[in-house]
Symmetry: C2
């Protein structure tokens, strides 16, 4: 058996193993899935709404995002993805893409045939469970985003987003909680929190003026995490990750 940690596919393992214990054979099965790598330039489509994708893709480097377009041309960004994320289990397993998947930066992905994934899942219950769990967490994040968009004001929405992104980056080893780079433009930020780029700009400056963050180009430095998390009504529970006892969430809200 080859060392499961040698293959480029090994970047998917840490995230899956947060939730489901895998043994060496499970890891080997995942890592020896057939794949081919491909590169995409910023804004290039990996999957378009309406496609019938035959493979799912694992993000090896760079950032990608998923989106939907509404009739009048508006766009809703549904998720950002980073190294180690299985970007498109959704579309590929459902058979019909209900949303777009695009590169945000230059990216490299491993395309894994849908059938191979299904076979691995059918053969190994823990592999199935790990991937199922991954889609459940994806759903949980989606629910939090819907809540963010539907029921928080602009300041809270952005603060919440900044907290989530910071934490995900740090967990993926791509940045620090209080000092990281945002790979998206303010317009893309707006499309993800349901605001216009103009208002994103205003609101970010507001967060800066309140002394919660400072920014240079696209670097964000969180100068007061506790307040940012409070303003953003951020509680990491919905990410279902193990913080190993670190306390980053604001104290429990008082019952109304």
């Amino acid at each position: 058996m080859t060392d499961p940690h040698r293959s480029p596919l090994a970047v998917m393992l840490p995230k899956l193993e947060i939730w489901t214990a895998l043994d060496e054979e499970d890891r080997a099965a995942l890592v020896s899935l057939p794949y081919r790598t491909r590169s995409f330039a910023p804004a290039q489509y990996i999957v378009r709404q309406g496609d019938k994708p035959e493979s799912s893709c694992l993000l090896l480097s760079g950032f990608a995002f998923r989106s939907k377009i509404v009739r009048d041309g508006g766009r809703q960004i549904l998720a950002f993805h980073m190294r180690g994320d299985m970007v498109d289990l959704q579309n590929s397993l459902l058979g019909l893409a209900d949303h777009n998947v695009q590169a945000l930066t230059n990216i490299e992905v491993a395309l894994i045939p849908r059938e191979a994934i299904l076979e691995a899942a059918a053969a190994r219950p823990r592999v199935a469970r790990a991937m199922w769990h991954d889609t459940l967490v994806d759903g949980s994040i989606n629910r939090e985003w819907a809540t963010n968009i539907g029921r928080r004001d602009a300041t809270a929405r952005l603060a919440h987003f900044l907290c989530e992104f910071a934490l995900r980056l740090e967990l993926a080893g791509l940045g620090e909680l209080c000092n990281y780079e945002l790979p998206m433009t303010q317009e893309q930020l707006g499309d993800c929190v349901g605001l216009t780029s103009v208002h994103v700009n205003r609101t970010l400056k507001g967060l800066e003026a309140s002394g919660l963050i400072t920014r240079t180009v696209r670097m964000v430095r969180v100068t007061d995490w506790a307040k940012l998390a409070e303003v953003g009504d951020f509680n990491s529970a919905y990410l279902h990750v193990d913080l190993k006892g670190r306390s980053i969430d604001p104290p429990a809200r008082t019952e109304a």
Copy 2:
């Protein structure tokens, strides 16, 4: 082997079998899952955010909904559920409830221990796949809702919701596409599309004034489905159901 269609749990089968072919043994495994039934009155909690639910619940009759509460007391409704829906695979499999589940009307549910579900999934790949698929579709609906809330105006949001609910009711055998009962108040409707009940009221009257629907008490009669679907930017693809060739979606949008 007992007839799989005798058990109350059999109500879950049609939905699962839309997506995944099951054989008699798969059905028998699902239907013979251990369970106990319970009733809930309107507004009663089945699961609260923060709970560690030990069972998942299958809705046998009535309507339920899932929601999150934000700091200032606002509520976002994330999903409505009807007979045959597995209401809480999300929370129970993730182990920690990231949202509330409540009865909307009087309901009867079958509570199925989480471990029994996981064992059935581990033992039978098709059962695992069917339930995984169910959560994928749930995620797809969530993405569409996020888009609805984030990027459509009040009229489109409500029109979209009315179309989705109509179709889901009809597929569950609980109403007709163009004539059905809405089980929720206008305030609950507002909490699901990100509006206030006041504006829901005005907007519904607007839809009525435009001749797309008529209403009596909570009955909705869709008088012009094609226009309602167009106004609501509704395309049923995201529900991933088989319409058996019926054409209910507006013609493909023209590229901008």
